[in-house]
């Protein structure tokens, strides 16, 4: 390396700043609420070889896909065919998309004096890409063809010129073309922001310095990862779990992983998982790689500036045709139901090794929700949003209440006032779900309850709430949490007629309420070890009833607070009883 170390450092900072600029540009100019309000997107700069070099932290999984999308473009066209001003779009789950068709990646090659230097890329959830159901993703598709328009690395712009035929196809195949194309223009504006950043580096320091800096960033990422890895013990850890079902039927599905660390390698072996499903819960191999990387980073070093060099020590073993490596034309609409499990298996396997970096089980599912219909004037509307829920405790703190799941990051839930203004819905409550579950020395965080009452003649609800049957896990004697669930409460009736983890275009009439419930997280440690003042505090805050305080925690309260004598005696009894039972 010929240049001084500071110049290369400064270039790295400039690249990261450009990625952030892309992120802000996209979020501020997009048309889909799920992009601008929820920030369901990721932006980054990619090397000429297709390796991520700088990211803006949005949705972790999205950023992880960008390098794959660039490699898809390179593989399809070859580097020589790319021209300045080209823009490519991909949402192919097997190629650069890695998730579902709603998430569209835009890629722009960046040149300096005719030489390909890098790529700007972003990925965001466009509300509409066509398919069998409004909002495009659904819970009852059985083939990818039903899930929307497939864009397998298509050239949207050629040398700066929009390919009108392609834009016309998109416009004709989606339900809300203005929104979809508006998102596309916003994404392109973001690419230009990234291009400006790279051009500024070249103008100031020259293209060679940029390339040196990229090589240094990647190399440093790799050496930091190997160093972090060597600080962990060598060994092999197994984890297994059950998914609610295959996305169509009722049969629980088995998944497992064996993580092996030996010296400088991190091997995730998913052999033995259930075969790909007929329902849309499938993940592709690209999607699997992305989530493994995410967890690798969480466990090793959550704060090291992300780049693909960091992920070089990872090896993934998983035969084709499983839930995590589904083959075309499997549907992938609700990929998060398996993708999040692939991540969480590693999480669970590594928990004993990295308890400072991980909490115990949380609501996990993105709990994707679509409510759609037509307003009084016949104009279609579609609300698409993820839900936040309860997180697990750690070995030194209670779990967090109402936080987006691990697969989402700098993602925001929609304000009630905006929701009611945009859609014919009334939110009857938005509150903590304090149902029992997640007890422990440190308790799980609370989930949320959000009630949507329909105020127009009718609307349709599509939702996928995994962990409807298998709650978040507790550890070290802490209790499991509760479950995610959707309930339907018909107009005028006080109680639910339906409770489920999944529905597709469920018809709701005026006055019907869809109740969206997210799980309480798992607890850590023996509930009988929880400090009684904390239990008393939870009762005062209305999180816990005095009865549960007694039953789950062995804490007896009187008007003055904790009755210490009665508590000690009750806890001794409970502990004895438990030992006898065991």
């Amino acid at each position: 390396m010929s240049r001084d170390p500071f110049t290369l450092e400064i270039i790295g900072d400039m690249l990261r700043a450009s990625a952030v600029e892309m992120f802000i540009t996209y979020g501020r100019s997009a048309q889909s609420p799920i992009i601008y309000e929820v920030l369901d997107m990721g932006c980054g700069l990619i090397s000429a070889e297709g390796e991520l070099i700088a990211e803006a932290e949005g949705v972790p999984g999205f950023v992880g896909c960008l390098g794959f999308a660039v490699r898809e473009v390179l593989g399809k066209f070859g580097a020589d065919a790319l021209q300045p001003g080209d823009i490519y779009a991909s949402n192919d789950p097997w190629g650069g998309g890695g998730t579902h068709l709603s998430d569209v990646v835009l890629v722009m090659p960046l040149f300096h004096e005719g030489c390909l230097l890098a790529f700007a890329a972003n990925k965001a959830h466009w509300t509409e890409v066509g398919g069998m159901a409004p909002g495009s993703w659904t819970t009852d598709s059985t083939e990818i063809y039903q899930e929307g328009l497939q864009l397998p690395a298509l050239r949207l712009y050629r040398a700066g010129q929009p390919q009108q035929d392609l834009l016309d196809i998109i416009e004709a195949n989606v339900r809300l073309p203005e929104m979809t194309l508006g998102d596309m223009y916003a994404g392109i504006a973001a690419l230009h922001a990234g291009a400006r950043g790279v051009a500024a580096v070249c103008a100031r320091y020259g293209a060679d310095a940029l390339l040196d800096s990229i090589a240094l960033l990647l190399k440093r990422g790799e050496s930091v990862a190997r160093e972090r890895l060597s600080a962990l013990p060598d060994g092999s850890w197994h984890a297994e779990a059950w998914l609610d079902d295959d996305g169509i039927g009722d049969e629980p599905q088995y998944v497992c992983v064996r993580v092996t660390i030996d010296g400088e390698r991190f091997v995730a072996d998913y052999s033995g998982c259930a075969p790909q499903a007929s329902g849309p819960i499938n993940t592709t191999h690209v999607g699997l790689m992305v989530v493994v990387r995410e967890m690798f980073k969480c466990v090793l070093d959550p704060h090291f500036p992300n780049n693909d060099g960091f992920f070089r020590p990872i090896e993934i073993i998983c035969p084709p045709g499983t839930l995590f490596t589904a083959q075309r034309p499997a549907p992938t609409s609700t990929y998060w139901e398996t993708g999040s499990y692939a991540a969480e298996l590693i999480w669970r396997a590594m928990y004993p090794v990295a308890p400072d970096r991980l909490s115990v089980g949380h609501h996990l599912s993105i709990c994707g929700t679509i409510v759609s219909g037509e307003d009084e004037s016949g104009t279609p509307w579609v609300l698409v949003e993820p839900q936040a829920g309860g997180w697990g405790a750690t070995h030194r703190r209670d779990g967090q209440s109402g936080l987006v799941p691990s697969g989402d990051g700098e993602t925001y839930i929609m304000p009630v006032e905006i929701c009611e203004t945009r859609y014919p819905l009334l939110v009857d409550q938005f509150a903590f779900n304090t149902e029992p579950g997640g007890g422990g020395r440190w308790r799980g965080g609370f989930g949320l309850i959000r009630d949507y009452q329909v105020t127009c003649s009718h609307a349709d609800l599509t939702a996928s709430f995994g962990r409807f049957r298998f709650p978040p896990w507790g550890a070290a004697g802490g209790a499991d949490g509760s479950n995610n669930a959707i309930e339907i409460i018909p107009a005028g009736q006080g109680k639910a007629v339906m409770r489920t983890g999944r529905c597709a275009r469920q018809r709701l009439q005026r006055g019907d309420v869809a109740r969206l419930i997210t799980a309480v997280g798992g607890g850590y440690g023996d509930p009988l070890q929880r400090e009684p003042p904390r239990v008393a505090e939870d009762v005062r805050e209305g999180f816990l009833s005095p009865e549960i305080a007694r039953q789950a925690y062995g804490v007896v309260l009187d008007n003055a607070g904790v009755d210490e004598v009665a508590t000690a005696s009750l806890r001794a009894d409970m502990s004895r009883e438990r030992d006898h039972g065991a």
Binding site: D4, E9, Y36, P302, I418, T421
Partner: protein, 684 residues
């Protein structure tokens, strides 16, 4: 007499100006953290000016931000819509620290048992679906009083459209507990987003009693010195001042009371030299703060949060605030190696205690140490020579880093300076390029203790037109305060489709808002003739969420005015985001600002008659600029520079509280206003 006082972490600055004689002066006294007012009083005494009958005193205070960040407010309760008491704690549920699986959310300022729900509901149009249950309110008030709360906030869904229920609730509380401080959310902000508005109302209540106590006591002290109450003002986050009375009512408007003043000063300097577009850069001991002045006006945003960074979601405050980007890069910023062996500067700072290594106590290498090693700072002239600096100590502190990189000590110092410059450049780009502006249309105005040292490099990197360094850069914020006008903002969310047909609607809403802000200022004894107002519309394409702020001229809004507004929106959108659409356009927020103009004092003129560059010359010394080879730089004393005669870099211009660097191929001159201008030789 006009007086401005700015309380900082270490010093309380006072700048005064005698309007009759035009004389200006300043005083610096140590800040008195246990009783901020004491420093204000003692600074006035030390100024030896007759404060009696002072016509305008403006006070910038860190009291509110300190009370918030140190959690020193009062026990506060919240009354809200049934079904929504957890909104304050749920927040927006985001995880900014995305790979951290043990992220901890910000704790709400009101615990759950003090968040009470009452029946009553509006829809998004502001229509009453359920009337407010007065018994619920009375019961909630009883519970909160029994819990010993000292202040209450009220926030109901959609109150930004229709405040009726909040007003009813406020009346019931006033009847039951006349002395209880109460904030009704719509009185603080009429923008939508219930979490953000609730949090804003809560934070306001949380500090109300503290601020009232402080301002009451300060008011008494100042009255005792002969300064009458109508002269007393506080600096607000929006860059304007307000009466002490308004400050007591809406203290959450004072959160950025100190930092904004420098931006106002920058706008004022821009006006004096005919440069409407200015980038201000305030480099202190711990941070650098950047902001943009466009067409003579600071940029205002209500997307503001405290305790917000890449690792934490922070707490939103939905009030108009001068848009400032702050980064951890100041004179005390520590140079260190990160985990991967890369050189970083800040955000950790040696601050005032222990301070940079060269001051004799600390031993960590700081940006100031690097500037000293590079010969840029004169070790014998820091604070006019009051604090001697040790070059040897600075070199010693840098030595381990030099050894790590296998570089010489000067090269290492230059590396540290470049990394710090790079951090500042990225922040400056944040406020300029990222928001669609070309730095080449701007002048850079650095101030604070360290601004002048870095200005010339930053100008070169950003390619701003020139650098302008104000007089006394160390007390520039207080000077900026002295220049401020009274200011009132009214922002209302009210979605309107912008077509020619909407003209009467727009006209009526804006007219109503203008009337209200004018009345508010008149209640503060501003004469109608001294009130000027501005109108802006926050607009977007149908379907978008985020808006672009577009100015709207005064006068009746007719179809033609609407067409003009639409065209300005399309232009502004294209400038910010590179594209325009054919989609319908919506107006989301109506924004009216009224200024109560306070006659601004003239800037003190300098007389350089008869002086030559030779008079200002103090010899030469070795200074490292871009290369690890030192150059012989001419050293000048700022106050003895002639007016209008340019000197050529490499040079250093010194004054007791700042050092100005002039690079090779740059020239600098002092103008009649005492400002130093620097430009590249190829610039004009």
């Amino acid at each position: 007499m006009r007086i401005a006082t700015d309380i900082g972490g270490t010093f309380t600055d006072l700048v005064w100006q005698d309007e009759k004689s035009g004389a200006v002066g300043n005083t610096k006294v140590p800040t008195t953290p246990h009783d901020f007012g004491a420093a204000v009083v003692s600074a006035i005494r030390q100024s030896r000016q007759d404060a009696r009958g002072t016509g305008f005193l403006v006070h910038g205070t860190t009291l509110v931000i300190n009370a918030l960040t140190e959690r020193k407010g009062v026990r506060t309760g919240l009354i809200t819509t049934r079904g929504f008491r957890d909104v304050l704690e749920i927040g927006r549920a985001n995880r900014p620290d995305i790979y951290n699986m043990t992220y901890v959310k910000p704790t709400p300022f009101v615990p759950r048992r003090l968040r009470l729900e009452v029946t009553g509901r509006l829809n998004f149009r502001g229509e009453v679906l359920l009337p407010l249950c007065h018994e619920d309110v009375a019961r909630a008030a009883g519970t909160l009083l029994a819990e010993g709360v000292e202040a209450v906030a009220v926030c109901f869904l959609h109150s930004y459209v229709n405040p009726q229920h909040e007003l009813e609730c406020g009346q019931i509380l006033a009847d039951l507990a006349p002395d209880l401080p109460v904030t009704l959310s719509h009185q603080v902000t009429r923008e939508w987003r219930e979490f953000e508005r609730s949090n804003t109302a809560v934070l306001n209540s949380y500090v109300m009693p503290i601020v009232a106590r402080y301002l009451n006591s300060l008011e008494r002290d100042l009255n005792d010195m002969g300064i009458p109450s109508p002269s007393l003002h506080v600096m607000q986050s929006n860059g304007g001042s307000a009466s002490f009375g308004a400050g007591r009512q809406l203290p959450v408007n004072l959160v950025e009371s100190g930092p904004v003043a420098g931006v106002i000063g920058a706008a004022r300097i821009g006006g004096i030299i005919g440069e409407p577009n200015v980038i201000s850069l305030d480099v202190g001991g711990t941070t650098a703060k950047c902001s943009l002045v466009l067409d003579g006006a600071p940029r205002i945003t209500s997307d503001y949060k405290i305790e917000h960074d890449r690792r934490s979601a922070g707490y939103p405050i939905l009030v108009p605030t001068v848009d400032i980007v702050e980064i951890g890069a100041g004179g005390g910023s520590i140079a260190h190696l990160d985990e991967s062996g890369a050189l970083r500067v800040g955000p950790q700072s040696a601050g005032a205690d222990p301070g940079p290594a060269c001051q004799g106590v600390g031993d960590q290498p700081t940006l100031t140490d690097a500037n000293l090693v590079a010969g840029r700072i004169n070790p014998d002239y820091f604070l006019g020579g009051r604090i001697p600096l040790s070059v040897a100590r600075a070199q010693q502190a840098l030595q381990p880093l030099a050894a790590h990189f296998g570089l010489g000590i000067a090269e290492t110092a230059l590396g540290i300076i470049r990394i710090a410059d790079s951090n500042m450049i990225n922040a400056l780009k944040l406020v300029s390029v990222r928001r669609g502006h070309d730095p080449r249309d701007f002048v850079l105005l650095p101030f604070g203790g360290g601004g002048a040292l870095h200005g010339a490099t930053l100008m070169r990197e950003l390619q701003t037109r020139k650098v302008v360094i104000p007089q006394q850069p160390g007390v520039f914020s207080a000077w900026g305060m002295l220049m401020s006008d009274l200011r009132r903002d009214d922002i209302r969310t009210r979605i309107t489709r912008v077509t020619e047909d909407a003209a009467p609607d727009l006209d009526e809403t804006f007219a109503d808002m203008s009337r209200r802000v004018h009345e508010a200022l008149q209640r503060e004894d501003v004469a109608a003739a001294d009130i000027r107002s501005e109108r802006h519309a926050d607009m977007r394409y149908l379907g978008q969420e985020h808006t672009v702020k577009v100015p709207l001229a005064e006068g009746c809004i007719d179809a033609a005015a609407v067409d003009g507004l639409l065209e300005r929106f399309h232009q502004a959108h294209e400038q910010t985001y590179t594209f325009r659409l054919d989609s319908p356009v919506e107006l989301v927020n109506y924004h009216v600002t009224a200024f109560g103009l306070v006659p601004a004092p003239e800037i003190g003129r300098v007389c350089g008659d008869g002086l030559t560059l030779a008079d200002a010359g103090k010899g030469r010394r070795e200074v490292y600029f871009d290369d690890p080879v030192p150059l012989q730089a001419d050293i000048f004393e700022r106050d003895r520079l002639p007016v209008g005669e340019a000197l050529a870099g490499p040079a250093v211009i010194e004054e007791p509280t700042a050092t100005i660097l002039v690079f090779p191929q740059q020239r600098a001159w002092r103008d009649r206003n005492g400002l130093i201008h620097i430009q590249g030789e190829d610039q004009s």
